[in-house]
């Protein structure tokens, strides 16, 4: 079926909904999502969203900028960071006006709490900056935005799976998507397309990310020759529930929780004497790894304890009810009485589709935009997170840049026009779907995916070196070859999730290759990327963004300078 609109937004998480809301009533918008909007991954975000409101103590957006840049190990584009941190304040008020039920101070203001890496006065001490709704901040953002979209009669195409992007003569013209319920392939023709398709944590085995977090938008962009920026920077959150990867928010440490090794020692005292358990995530994840390697994991195994037993039980129940529930459900323990076994869990993609501060996708080191193509949220790389994202800055990123993309789209639409679609714009997508639908090979998608995830955990995780990364590279070559011999069992049209899982696994493979190439090439350690064979940051050679492109089936590597304005790179200690 053929659809025509001004804008197609792909993805109905925080970024997509924020954009849709901004566009509602001003342009004709179609919003596509492979899950019902309220099932999007934004809903799982727990801890909070930052803005220097100063509701509980003095705070300034400039301090927030500094923390973000330092947290990102100086790989952030500082002009973009300023936009993020300055806009944050109005954005939080806007969310409140839309109905978001933030927790409150006794005076009725939005309450704020500590979060990792957020400090006062350029690093002096932790600051109350994270606005929160208990430990379901993302849930409340997602609900609030969806509810307002309902109110504005936004047109949703629920359970439509993006298959392809239509780019013709260097201009973006729409997308092709599979209607899951019927198996029908639809063409959405529009001069402006916004990808808000989220991240790709499912390239790893132990992850806090949803089963649907397979980087579809990013992989589709790569296939069209759009680069991926900084894919080697992936964040491992230090406190995933042991073996399951389910997240225990940093807010738990913000409220006073501490990490302990097998001797009961609060080991962060040795690694980050000022910020302790609230040091940035990349550092704590590495420190846990070192504790484990030196035999101080619990029972000699690969995990440590998160200790909330010294907190007032009332605080735990009131401010951390969901994680209390998770820990009780999945581990059968009461976090006010027993310690929680945790290990680092793959959490957040700092890299993604390169964009400018208006969400325009830019395709080279000179930041040349691809007309009509926008990206926002975790699938995009602005880059405000640099080499390591600070907690609470992603929920901010999705609302700030979701909104800014929409505003730019409105300006763009004034000049943009509906160019006629090329013939058979949906041809490649149809061919791909029928190829998978009729596949009868002996390889099982699930087996390949499991091998991929294991390989990435083992070789491209918290600690990397050339040998591991080369192992990963050859394994990926093998997996890609085997992927051409898959066979699926479901040949039907209705909700064929056998088909979509195969497509998603193909996307994960595409992205994993870029992560490994970026990591192999970056012979230094910075933020979330740690090379044991190159343990120091090397600004002389690597203070630059990676850009990886796929040209004629082969990956090619390039770079882009980092925008540095006020904050000159310094050694990063906490």
């Amino acid at each position: 079926m053929y659809h025509k609109s001004d804008v197609v937004v792909v993805g109905a998480g925080g970024a997509g909904l924020m954009a849709a809301l901004e566009l509602a009533g001003k342009a004709d918008v179609a919003v596509l999502s492979k899950v019902y909007p309220t099932r999007s991954h934004t809903g799982t975000a727990q801890g909070g969203v930052c803005a220097a409101l100063g509701n509980m103590e003095e705070d300034h957006w400039e301090w927030h900028s500094f923390d973000t840049v330092k947290g990102g190990d100086y790989l952030c584009d500082q002009d973009a960071v300023d936009v993020l941190c300055q806009t944050a304040i109005d954005n939080i008020y806007h969310l409140e006006h839309l109905g978001l039920p933030f927790n409150r101070t006794p005076d009725g203001l939005i309450a704020q709490r500590f979060f990792g890496g957020h400090t006062k006065d350029y690093g002096k001490a932790p600051v109350h900056r994270a606005c929160y709704a208990a430990d379901r901040t993302g849930h409340m953002i997602l609900q609030t935005l969806y509810q307002n979209c309902i109110r504005q009669n936004v047109r949703f195409y629920d359970e439509y799976h993006l298959l392809d992007l239509i780019i013709n003569d260097g201009v973006c013209q729409g997308v092709v998507a599979l209607e899951l319920r019927t198996g029908e392939i639809h063409t959405f023709h529009a001069p402006a397309v916004l990808f808000a398709t989220g991240g790709y944590g499912r390239v790893y085995k132990i992850t806090s990310n949803a089963l649907t977090y397979t980087g579809d938008g990013v992989a589709i962009a790569i296939r069209h020759g759009v680069p991926i920026e900084d894919p080697e920077f992936f964040q491992f959150h230090p406190t995933g529930i042991y073996k399951m990867g389910i997240l225990v928010t940093e807010g738990a440490r913000g409220e006073g929780g501490v990490l302990r090794n097998r001797t009961g020692e609060r080991f962060m005292e040795r690694y980050a004497p000022t910020l302790l358990d609230l040091a940035p995530r990349d550092m704590i994840s590495r420190d846990i790894y070192l504790e484990v390697r030196e035999g101080r994991g619990i029972d000699g195994k690969d995990y440590v304890h998160l200790d909330l037993t010294q907190l007032d039980p009332a605080v735990v129940h009131e401010k951390l009810p969901d994680i209390t529930d998770f820990v009780e459900t999945y581990l059968g323990i009461d976090p006010t009485k027993q310690m929680i076994p945790v290990q680092p869990t793959a959490h957040y993609a700092m890299g993604g589709i390169p964009t400018d501060v208006d969400g325009r996708v830019v395709v080279d080191e000179k930041n040349t935009p691809l007309p009509g193509f926008y990206a926002a949220g975790e699938c995009a790389c602005v880059s405000v997170h640099g080499a390591n994202r600070l907690g609470t800055n992603s929920l901010l990123d999705i609302t700030v840049f979701g909104q800014r993309s929409a505003r730019h789209i409105l300006r763009f639409l004034k000049e943009g026009q509906h160019l006629p679609l090329p013939p058979e714009a949906d041809g490649p997508a149809r061919a791909e779907v029928s190829r998978v639908l009729s596949s009868t090979g002996e390889e099982k998608v699930a087996v390949l995916r499991a091998e991929l995830q294991q390989c990435m955990d083992d070789n491209a995780g918290v600690m990397r070196d050339a040998e591991k990364l080369r192992t990963a590279r050859s394994k990926l070559v093998e997996l890609r070859e085997r992927f051409t011999h898959i066979g699926i069992q479901d040949r039907g049209l209705t909700y064929n999730t056998d088909l979509t899982e195969a497509l998603e696994t193909g996307n994960l493979l595409d992205i994993a290759e870029t992560i490994v190439l970026g990591a192999l090439n970056r012979e230094e350690s910075r933020g979330g990327h740690y090379r044991e064979d190159f343990p120091k940051r090397d600004d002389a050679h690597f203070l630059k963004h990676t850009l990886i492109k796929r040209v004629d089936g082969k990956l090619s590597l390039g770079y882009k300078p980092v925008v540095i304005t006020r904050f000159q790179p310094k050694e990063r200690t906490y």
């Binding site: 309220t38 006794p106 009725g108 203001l109 949803a210 459900t329 699930a446 087996v447 039907g492």
Partner: protein, 232 residues
């Protein structure tokens, strides 16, 4: 441990009626029912179809009838159920395929209660004030993940699919009791109508089914009292 899963199956492209298929899986007692379903789908029968995303009880994708009760597959552990597990789609919605039901009607009911903040005052420069006590008044009902476990466990809803149902009532409560909201009267008029709050016969199934432990019956009672006496 070895577990036998009896799953109700239906493929609209092939079947006239649903049937049950039995699968054996080897799984840990601390694994989730969702892990068992994934094992079947990934390694035994790729045609098995169900929704899932977050895998930890937050996105609301995988409510289903497990051993006769509505629960989230990702929040129910095998050890709670024993070695024989029956899995069926939610009751009261049209089954599209296997465990996938049609949610469109459910979301229409949700939308019918105006689930968004209504406030006619000029927008202030900063936040609207709300005390912690005012915020607490509707805290419980903000937890809803729209999984439909409640609505599809409700006998009045089974007999009258136009009844707005517990999930929509929970979401109406979330706004009616928000001190910043001014749409209470509009919503109460809807809820006082034929398909509104009076269809609820206080069966309590919804409260038992809620995977988020929302005290649904209590919220509905608060709405009823507000309609009758204009007080809580």
């Amino acid at each position: 441990m070895k577990v036998e899963l009896s799953i109700k199956r239906f493929d609209p492209d092939q079947d006239e009626a649903s049937h049950t298929e039995v699968y054996g899986v080897e799984i840990e007692p601390t694994d989730r029912v969702l892990d068992a379903l994934n094992q079947v789908k990934w390694y035994q029968d790729g045609t098995l179809t169900y929704r899932r995303s977050c895998a930890h009880g937050i996105c609301g994708s995988d409510a289903m009838r497990i051993n006769g009760l509505n629960r989230l597959a990702c929040k129910t552990l095998i050890k709670e159920l024993g070695s024989k597990i029956s899995i069926e789609p939610l009751l009261g919605f049209t089954v599209i395929k296997d465990l996938m039901v049609d949610f469109d009607h459910f979301f229409d009911l949700y939308k019918s209660v105006k689930p968004y903040l209504i406030n006619y005052d000029p927008t202030p420069a900063k936040e609207r004030l709300q005390s912690p006590e005012q915020r607490e008044a509707f805290d419980d009902t903000t937890k809803c993940i729209l999984c439909a476990a409640c609505t599809t466990s409700c006998p009045p809803f089974w007999s009258d699919p136009n009844f707005v149902g517990p999930a929509a009532l929970v979401n109406a409560h979330r706004f009616i009791f928000d001190s910043r909201d001014q749409g209470g009267a509009e919503r109460l008029e809807i809820l006082n109508g034929r398909e509104g709050v009076w269809r609820c016969r206080t069966v309590f199934n919804c409260t038992q089914a809620c995977p988020r432990d929302i005290k649904i019956t209590k919220a509905i009672e608060q709405i009823k009292r507000l309609v009758l006496f204009n007080r809580v």
